[in-house]
Symmetry: C2
Subunit: 194 residues, 2 copies
Amino acid sequence: MQTSPLPHASPIPDDASLPEETLFSGKWLTLKKRGRWEYASRNNPGGAVIILAVTPDDKVIFVEQYRVSILANTIEMPAGLVGDLEGAEDEDVLLAAERALEEETGYACGRMEFVHEGPSSSGMSTEMIAFARAWDLKKVGKGGGDETENIIVHEVPRSEAGKWLFDRAAEGFSIDAKLFAGLWFIEHPEAHKR
Amino acid sequence: MQTSPLPHASPIPDDASLPEETLFSGKWLTLKKRGRWEYASRNNPGGAVIILAVTPDDKVIFVEQYRVSILANTIEMPAGLVGDLEGAEDEDVLLAAERALEEETGYACGRMEFVHEGPSSSGMSTEMIAFARAWDLKKVGKGGGDETENIIVHEVPRSEAGKWLFDRAAEGFSIDAKLFAGLWFIEHPEAHKR
């Protein structure tokens, strides 16, 4: 959250100084309002992390599951919520990424590298999504998610991954554009280094 | 929305056949629930469209604004809601893209090409985001958005755009990863063609 003005930044609207109101609190999400702006927040404070995972034989790992919100099968990259386990609310994003990668895909990684964090839809949500690159993958289990999930793992040669995603979209799978961001990060492994 | 099973798709959970409940209806957003899944929906039916815009001198166009939901200045690509104008609820996504591009950046385009559509955050939202590529740009106005917006336009040489985004993130700007998806689409202009 930004606390002081940025150089040459666009002006801060008056609404930003108004108090935040809660319109409705659900079990997982809360609908909020500040001035004339409405937005949804996750009740777990840590956001979510997407894992950029490439196997030793240069295949990108995708996971397929059914999403009730949009009534559609999706292709995604492995991902997990940060701090959603009781007693581990301050879980580190990279630890959450390691846990989600192993749960969903059965791969452990030698090293997890932070790449980026940003809003998933800043016009309507406070959700922040991080991206982490998993290095030195090693198969240690079968994956498939926890007991509430039915996850199918796909491993796609890196050079064909973009075309493969568009082929799945043409079949009717719902594809979040963040997957193409993931491919960009994989293709430009130095870009985030400062 | 998917109406029949996909080949080899992950199983459809029982919750998908339960009725959708409305938890709270706001002016712009509605919080909904189906089974144990909660999610937010925009009240305008058409979703949003992000415009991939490269000027004749090969610069990528970004827009900067303040987002009240996350209390932060963001860098985004030009974008607009589809069907949010009264009397134009069935507005075509490419027309909405042309309108938003000109309003925000002052550029008209000779042709707008559909690239992709997918969920922005399928775990918590029904929002669908489209991407469209604007071709043959021509400056026709000053841009800056409508009367409720304060938008600053940035034009960044295409080869430096990724680094420029990470530099802005390091300064404190909030950067949606979909911008890197936008760069991937710009770098792979044939990938979506079937």
